[in-house]
């Protein structure tokens, strides 16, 4: 038999990421440091593929890599003793965040629709003359969350 464990290329392929990404995730501890062959090549356990998929999924759910790392850690600690409720708490927080962004986007969408329906052609002119319902000046004064 050859050595057991997956090589970085195999893991990358299976998880749909690049080999560089694996190395990158290792640095800040998002992935555990893998076992090495005598020659120094990385050997990953099979579950790393799952972990990577989870990471990618969580990123799509709007978590940053740091947050994902914490999420995974929280899960591991739980195996120690009492339930942490850390994951549920994170989910709740992220959900609130997502809902806020959603609300912002709805405002943006409605504004864009209004602008389109108004049929303006020159943004600057419209803003200056208030001939159209584009709330440029008003928007400009709003505190505003970054898009």
């Amino acid at each position: 038999m050859t050595q057991h464990g997956l090589r970085s290329g195999q893991v990358a392929e299976a998880a749909g990421v690049s080999v560089e990404t694996l190395r990158y995730y290792e640095r800040p501890g998002i992935l555990d440091d893998p076992v090495r062959t005598l020659g120094g090549h990385r050997l990953y356990p099979t579950k790393t593929v799952t972990v990577l998929k989870v990471i990618k999924a969580a990123q799509r759910l709007g978590f940053t890599l740091r947050e994902v790392a914490d999420l995974l850690q929280a899960g591991e600690h739980r195996h120690g003793r009492r339930p942490t409720a850390g994951l549920r708490h994170s989910l709740e927080a992220k959900l609130t965040e997502v809902e806020a962004r959603l609300a912002d986007l709805v405002v943006i969408r409605d504004t864009l629709r209004e602008a389109r329906d108004a049929g303006c052609d020159d943004v600057a002119a419209c803003a200056a003359s208030s001939c159209c319902p584009l709330p440029f000046a008003e928007l400009a004064t709003v505190p505003a969350r970054p898009a």
Copy 2:
């Protein structure tokens, strides 16, 4: 009388941006190069304040600086001859984009809600055992737009 035109600090103050931002916008041609005093200080026309407000508003509508520049250009070209419909087209395109992002966020929100309601505690374990409704594997296989 002193020289007519606004100095960078005045423009920045009036538009609610920093002087550095003005310089920054000049580089890629988002702001026209202003007239200079004999000593090299920038002198802006009054309308620059409006332009800046428009830029900030457009950014809040989800346009990148590059797109904003194109939008403003489109408006100017229109003054030449026939209507370009460029702005309407851009609005339409951006609206489509925003709607797509909105749809994504709704999926994300619903997924987060499900996860929360399911009361999972360990992300990796859930993903591996399919004990909970978190669609990690499925999400992982979706082409997916970056959040």
